[in-house]
Amino acid sequence: MTGPATNERMTRLLSLVPYLTARPGGVPLAEAARDFGVPERQLRRDLDLLWMCGLPGYGPGDLIDLAFEGDRVRVTFTAGMVRPLRLTTDEAVALVVALRTLLELPGLAEQEAVSRALAKVSAAAGHAAERVTPVALSVDAREQSLAVVRRGLEQGRALHLHYYVPTRDERTERTVDPLRLLLVDGRSYLEAWCRRAEGLRLFRLDRVDDVEVLDEPAAPPPGVHLRDLDNGIYQPEPGAPVVRLRLARTARWVAEYYPVEDVREVDDPPGGLAVALRTGDLAWARRLVASLGGAAGVEEPAELAGAVAADARAALARYGEQAGA
């Protein structure tokens, strides 16, 4: 974490000779560049620099020596750089925490392999991994559906889903062409082409009641664009109608949870927030407002407030009957 930009090249320079040492037959330059995550141009610059380095004396027999054969490079003299530098605390934390997280997602990777990798990595990390790890990731594990969805993806086959849609409070059945699994903010999603809706959809795995892999191959239409996750999982269409809410203090979390615009602090209610949400799904907005139990007032559209209130009056009537009023 400390100064990654400065250290990045040094880490690479100290790793390149050991990398080539571990591959005595030589490596294509393009492959090495990919492994180090840099353009081939940069890798050549790094190799040129290393060629100038070596043991004190710095004569022909002291300098690191590399052999280029066609597009391959191999090392012929290491100047004593045969192993990479130990893992830093941050690197050990990144590895150990990520592997522990995979252990919580049993459908996603072979658990025994993850456990063995964790043990080996911890041993190699040594003291860097011994202390209480200062980071933990906790994810929502849906073992069974995750394993089935993964199989569908690996085998390139269509899936049949029983899926719960909360905004309409209904169970649906549909056949989808799976495209990828997403683990976003601790939840697992399947991104797939839905044949029923004829569109790209995200399915939250904790809402999948049942899933099976079909015999037929997955056939999403060509040219489907996967969504860009940089703006989060909720991506309202910019042109969608505006719902304006006034959130009381206890409902301020809505502004942290959903993408909102025009956020303003207001005094009525005290400590409140005025926000605008964009959604084409009024049924969703109705459920949201109702579930806030009065802690969110609707400024716009008026019919939303009316619908929520009418539902509530009908419900109160039922309680009244039962209370014998």
Binding site: P4, T11, R12, L87, P134, V135, A136, D169, L183
Partner: protein
């Protein structure tokens, strides 16, 4: 970093790795290329000293175990060396499956806080001869919330065991309050980041949501100022705060409605009015009351009385909303 400096640092590492003797700064200046030569002037001495201090700091920051000491009692000043056993990453051999698990695990950090550390860990493992292919066939896109400015200072303070001071604003309070904490770690739980630590003013463990931290947390005092409890489970502490005592709630739902509740309810058979009786277990009765109110007239709470009253209270507020609009 300039190519000249990178070259000098690589040569310095090679020279100090290649000796068992401690090498004095003067000797390093005379042998390793790129240092200000000794021309007898104080200006040149000063320039060398500055350069060498910067280089030592850079190497130590990268985790290079630079030792200082004297080889014999006749030496008049300290020298430097790098013990190979402390420098080198120990042997690590991973099977194809284990390496795939590591590759998949590290993708968790792809867009998140430890992305740089994950990338350099990957580079070192590859340099150790492990073939890690993160782009393996399975299309999985993990993503953590990367937009959390408080993460870095909190993580760094927890890693270095330094006391952290920050302003924290709970959503139900108007003004942020100053907190002093021994940070034990940072936890991603259900998609949100939390800081867990000992609140020094309350002398009790506390959980803080990072998005509610106002401004930049400041670390103070020495490193290693405390030690978290050895058996601390950070995720469990966060989960416990979110969880609580379990309550049993019985509701009546009109046939065919409340599909979402039925997904996790225990059916108790039909009630006298033909409604389905459902039993629900929850650790968060007030959140459940929010959900139940959102079902409107389809769901009526039978027991306990407290939850029933809570739902009626919510419905009363919602019903009043229509009158204002």
């Amino acid at each position: 970093m300039s190519a000249k400096r990178a070259e000098r640092l690589v040569n310095l590492v090679i020279a100090l790795l290649g000796t068992r003797q401690y090498v004095t700064a003067a000797r390093i200046r005379a042998t390793v290329p790129g240092y200000e030569p000794d021309d007898g002037t104080a200006r040149a001495d000063e320039a060398f000293k500055r350069m060498f201090e910067r280089d030592k700091a850079e190497l130590r920051e990268m985790g290079v175990p630079l030792e200082t000491g004297r080889t014999s009692v006749f030496d008049t000043e300290d020298g430097y060396r790098i013990a190979r056993a402390d420098y080198e990453l120990p042997e690590i051999t991973l099977t194809g499956e284990e390496a795939a698990a590591v590759g998949l695990a590290l993708r968790l950090w792809e867009s998140a806080q430890l992305a740089g550390a994950a990338q350099s860990a990957l580079v070192k493992l590859r340099a150790a001869g492990v073939d890690v292919d993160p782009a393996r066939a399975l299309p999985v896109q993990p993503r953590l919330d990367s937009d959390e400015p408080a993460f870095e200072p909190c993580y760094t303070a927890a890693r270095d065991r330094r006391v952290l001071t920050f302003d924290y604003r709970r959503p139900d309070e108007d003004a942020p309050a100053r907190r002093r904490v021994q940070p034990w770690g940072v936890v991603a739980w259900h998609g949100r980041w939390y800081l867990v630590g000992l609140d020094l003013d309350r002398q009790a463990p506390r959980v803080f949501r990072l998005s509610r931290v106002v401004g930049t947390p400041r670390a103070g005092g020495p490193e290693g100022a405390f030690e978290p409890p050895a058996d601390v489970d950070l995720s469990a502490l966060v989960a416990r705060q979110a969880g609580g005592e379990e309550h049993l709630v019985v509701v009546r739902a009109r046939p065919g409605t409340a599909v979402g509740l039925r997904r996790w309810a225990t059916p108790l058979g039909a009630g006298p009015d033909g409604d389905d009786r459902l039993q629900l277990r929850t650790t968060e009765p007030w959140r459940l009351a929010d959900q139940l109110a959102a079902y409107g007239p389809d769901v009526v709470v039978e027991s306990p009385q407290a939850v029933r009253a809570a739902v009626v209270e919510r419905l009363t507020r919602l019903a009043a909303m229509g009158e204002q609009a």
